[in-house]
């Protein structure tokens, strides 16, 4: 027998009688007075920063400022500038020097400050991890209360890769001292469009 057959036969012989799935009653979970303010509070508590912006032009200005300061920025937001067609296929060595990446997030979650990014939004899977700093824009109307609500709205496995991103990269592996900026981004700025 192959390993597959051996394992599946062992499981078939040993698994207990089927028990139904529970009904997840989403109306029974926490609600916030304001998903927006809860999102901001939690994001700050996990090392991120939130600002309200009035439109795309503000982001365009930020990109211009970065470029003027001689920074290597990568834009993955079609609304503020055209996206470099080569971005999708850039390798790690080519992305290693990116100082700031601009991305557009989807659903955001008030209870934990996370933002859904799928492969379409990232353009290149490595980009949100390898960039030194991240700027993500979200729309206030896309903030939901909890992960249950988020999964009702995102098709989490459709694009091949996607993630909930919550704040900048961090570690506390040395004596439980929190250090921001482990292997991924050192900072996360979330720009919220009303």
């Amino acid at each position: 027998m192959s390993a597959r057959e051996t394992i599946l036969a062992g499981i078939m012989a040993n698994q207990p009688l089927s028990q139904d799935l529970p009904i997840i009653d989403v109306s029974a979970v926490i609600q916030y007075d304001s998903n927006l303010s809860q999102f901001k509070t939690v994001l700050e508590s996990i090392g991120g920063k939130a600002i309200d912006i009035s439109g795309w032009f503000e982001l365009q200005n930020m990109v211009q400022d970065d470029l003027a300061a001689g920074k290597r920025v990568v834009n993955a937001i079609a609304e503020i500038a055209s996206i470099d067609p080569a971005l999708a296929s850039l390798e790690a060595t080519e992305l290693a020097t990116v100082q700031r990446a601009y991305l557009k997030g989807g659903i955001a979650v008030a209870e934990n400050g996370s933002i859904w990014l799928d492969e379409t939004a990232m353009v290149n899977r490595l980009l949100p991890f390898i960039a030194e700093h991240l700027v993500i824009v979200i729309e206030a109307k896309n903030i939901v209360a909890t992960m249950h609500h988020a999964y009702q709205q995102v098709s989490s496995f459709d694009t091949g890769f996607g993630m909930f991103l919550a704040g900048p990269s961090k570690t506390a592996d040395i004596e439980q001292s929190l250090v921001i900026g482990a292997h991924g981004a050192r900072s996360l700025l979330v720009c919220i469009i009303p």
Binding site: A3, G10, I11, Q15, I24, I46, E91, L165, Q176, G184
Partner: protein
Amino acid sequence: MSSQANFTHAEAAEQFIADEPRTDWHDDTLWFVREKRDKAANSLPEWEQLRQWASDIKYHGLSNMHQLLVDFEKNAIANGIQVHWAVDGKEHNEIIYKIIQDNQVQRIVKSKSMLTEECHLNEFLTEKGVEIVDTDLGERIVQFRKEAPSHIVLPAIHLKKQDVSETFHKHLGTEKGNNDPQYLTEAARGHLRDKFIASELAITGVNFAIAETGGFVVCTNEGNADMGAHAAKIHIACMGFEKIIPKAEHLGVFLRLLARSATGQPITTYSSHFSKPRAGQQMHIVIVDNGRSRQLGRESFRNSLKCIRCAACFNTCPVYRRSGGHSYHTAVAGPIGSILNPNLDMQANKDLPFASTLCGSCSNVCPVKINIHEQLYLWRQEITKEGMAAKGKTFAMWGMSEVLAHPAIYRMAGKMGRWVVKHLPFLTNNGMNPWFKQREMPEAPKESFRDWYLNNKQK
């Protein structure tokens, strides 16, 4: 695969505690994590309901495991993922070695996977001359030191920053005596970035595998799993089959519980959902049994397979906090390890179910409601039933049970015991009596309660 340690938990714990200030530090540090967990749990009024949902989803999964795995495999293959099956740790390691050889790669990075620890993958590959770089900061630290992780979420929690500083000075050339965690983390970031960028193959664990989509989720705070997986041209994800959950929507339940239980964070920084290799990339999944199907058949112990490896039971365990992970001499330490490891090798791990006061705190913090302390009790029964208890202990227990089953003998023995404690204290107050080592014996009263009752109440 489980190797026989040459010490018991009690012996290793005694050594650990010999350095009392360090024990206090270890205890306080982990208790702090437990307190953060409490705070996070209390932020959700539905916490106990969430635990019940998670437990029920997991039980549904265990009771439909065969079908869910078949579905998962089918969907994963349709997504372009190559699926492998391994009966035990050895097969798991060989599958990975074969992929390495077939692709002729040398630069390999690995993010945290307790399964690869359980299978001793690093030792196996080192013997084959393949170098593997652990990229989780804590794991990199212990890898430099040639130690095993002492905690499944906080691998280097047994070390102080001075220890890390010395290790990094030796291996990364950091300033001698610079113990600043920020500085040390920055050094590791630079060192590991080079490894990521150069890596050809990345190994990750799996937190959840979703049957309906054929995808899987990996959770980290550092971003190391993703740095590896998206930079390398080959990604191998390793999972015990119990990581399966039926649907993507169930992630809503588990991702709400996992990080809150583990560290008190509302969610890990990265909750990455993989379902297809990127263009030009190979993606492999290795599904491992290694005793899990046997555990599935043990009615009393199958619920242990619900575990999502949050380590909340470690952090709350008063014994773990005061004995350290290495005293458990297994890849997965702590209370959950003490109910998983006897299934892997009962003889080698027969001490572990006894490394507990059965206080029950572990079961209360468990996000999937595993009755850990009850299973510890039940493993004790299994171990003695298999004749694995020490002869002296068996004899003493037999003697005690005979005395306690016969009231007259009990009364005589009680009288003698009290008399001995009173008149011949040296018989009990000596080095042979572990109670007396750091505790006084109770003072012997002149009469038992029964004697008093007969004298005062039944005249």
